[in-house]
Homo-oligomer: 385 residues x 2
């Protein structure tokens, strides 16, 4: 089962994972992946040298997305990346969560676009809708790194992807909604203050055609589609999990090599219910019923990382043992509620296209649909034994 | 309205159409496109020299798809291509329809894979599911042309695309279902007997991972994704009309420049009902209700070409004035039925994924779901005054 393969991959990795071209058969199963040592992978090559000057970077704008970032970070650890892990957070992320993130990430940077320099303030004033975008742009300011790979917090790594550091700025994967554009969930870039300022200027002058960072970055790196094939990354590096699979034979043919899965859409893995007795994630009531079965496999893989590699970290601090069911580790949803998760609209109420789009851009309506009381109510409603 | 723009484009074209970067506004409207003379387009350039050695090529495997081919051919005429138009047909296409096609296409080639050479027969025996694929591969045998652009019969040209002949084999557009692969509905190629034989060999040895020509061609031209950016055509050259528009802002930003629209999916434009009194195409009862409004605009554009440029051709032969309503030009569906259309499953019964996929590959179940009696029944049911 693909489930078994992912579980094996993530639980038993002791070294690099040999990238074998598995082919998913008609039942959607894969042979178990054997983890190998570096020497077995490349008997003629020395083990890779860890690099302090290169990093995977992600962004969390609220506590909810921190679950994504924690799983992402631990998935990178599971495939034994030799690069640093860096994360940008906003002041909206609680101290509690920041502390958890610091256990997984080597660097935690707080970015506050409101309390920034004059240029940023002016940019924000002229383009207030780009608040979150401006936060993401700060990844170009991490100039302690010479090269970095940005990964959205709703992605998860399934194989070692350190080879991305052989690529140049701006390398990315085509967006399946408009493949002339790249999807900004995964990209290779070179931190640079000059580039940052130029991006800010572009945002101020031109804005973003989609109201978010993807439109802006595609405007700025407008020659991505036509200039250099080496900057087109394989879809395997940013495989959108919830696509309608209009080309299922290709997924069956190539999908066994998927390296990074991207949980696009308003319903994130951490919105699903999880039955800790059976160890299985449940489909979401609002989930598109036409989604292919392997979407559940990817969700299961996410939850396996969460349960095996994130939850123990969180429990180590003791805060998950308080609440309605002290010591009860079966009611995970209730425990998550204790983490003061806020900033997410229960997918049960994600109804309008506008709200979905805003949600995906990370524009959380903290005073409206997404306010904490609504979220708390929704989480309580999801509690099941 | 985009509708108005398409109508103006196709009805009033007198020469080349200036490719202006229109931006679709939030109401989905476009400014009217002004057709221009060659001199106005490129005042410094001489008019393009017609080329007899280069051609647009399409394929029709049954009378139903001939409607698509007729509209495609006439849309190419409407944008004043200077290249030849060639079409491959199978013996299943009736003489009547062949005659109509010859009015639009410069060359009509009958391809019969069953009555082919030994190599082809052997290939067909070993890979019987690839019957239609083998027919399509015959485009590489049109060696009277040095270069050609293949266009599926369910595409339609909205702007002059003769610039495709500046491209090399194999140039194509990424498939939105798996963008590491190209969509084989539009591609630039160089006819060659050697390439044809190599393709046949590949089909025999490897088969096709999707059971059709796209899987085979992507296997044969396996470096398309990584070798040469110039062989990646813009999405504007093969814009799938029925995609779920998961990136609508990009369509709004760039879609005004669309050059070729591709009506993928089992429901083709010619399956829709058309009200000739109001001049509007009707949504299909099985049509996905989440499709964006501009999909209807594209359907309308297709029907406008049919009504303005194809129907007059067909009526010129007199056969459309017989039947239930002699002289009645309002009941177009009835008239189409008189053309002995067969080989199409009424979309009302396209229910299974397998049938949809088979249908898209042109694998019509002539003795089963798609047999003539069923089709006749469905067409009769669609007749409305």
């Amino acid at each position: 089962m693909m489930l078994g393969w992912f579980v094996l991959l993530l639980r038993r990795a002791t070294c690099c994972i040999k990238s074998n071209p598995f082919q998913i058969n008609k039942q959607g199963t894969l042979p178990p992946l054997q983890s190998t040592s570096h020497q077995e992978c490349n008997p003629e090559k020395s083990p890779p040298i860890p690099s302090d000057k290169e990093a995977f970077v992600t962004l969390v704008t609220n506590d909810s997305y921190s679950f994504g970032a924690l799983v992402l970070g631990q998935s990178l650890r599971a495939v034994h990346t030799t690069r640093k892990l860096a994360i940008m957070i906003t002041p909206l992320v609680s101290d509690n969560v920041r502390e958890q993130l610091s256990k997984v990430y080597d660097d935690v940077h707080t970015v506050d676009v409101v309390d920034s320099g004059d240029t940023e303030k002016l940019a924000l004033l002229s383009r207030p809708e780009l608040g979150i975008t401006f936060t993401k742009l700060h990844c170009w300011r991490l100039t302690n790194y010479t090269k970095a790979v940005f990964l959205d917090a709703d992605t998860m790594v399934l194989r070692n992807v350190d080879d991305l550091f052989d690529k140049e700025e701006l390398s990315a994967v085509p967006d399946i909604g408009w493949p002339d554009c790249f999807n900004s969930g995964v990209f290779v870039f070179r931190p640079s203050e000059d580039t940052y300022q130029a991006l800010l200027q572009c945002a101020t002058n031109t804005g973003s055609f989609d109201g978010g960072d993807q439109g802006l970055l595609n405007t700025f790196f407008s020659d991505w589609g036509t200039k250099d094939i080496s900057r087109h990354l394989s879809f395997l590096y940013n495989m959108t999990s919830t696509i309608h699979y209009s080309y299922l034979p290709a997924f069956n043919r190539f999908g066994g090599d998927v390296k990074i899965v991207h949980f696009i859409g308003p319903i994130k893995p951490w919105h699903h219910q999880y039955d800790s007795r059976s160890g299985t994630v449940k489909p979401h009531p609002n989930q598109d019923s036409t989604l292919p079965p392997h979407h559940m496999d990817f969700l299961q893989a996410w939850w396996d990382v969460f349960m095996n590699r994130v939850k123990p970290l969180l429990e180590g601090q003791g805060q998950l043992l308080s609440g309605d069911h002290p010591g009860d580790t079966q009611d995970l949803t209730g425990q998550l509620a204790q983490l003061q998760v806020y900033g997410v609209e229960s997918p049960a109420h994600v109804s309008s296209e506008d709200h979905r789009r805003a949600w995906e851009r990370g524009e959380i309506d903290f005073t409206g649909l997404d306010r904490f009381e609504n979220i708390q109510k929704k989480l309580d409603a999801q509690i099941k034994s």
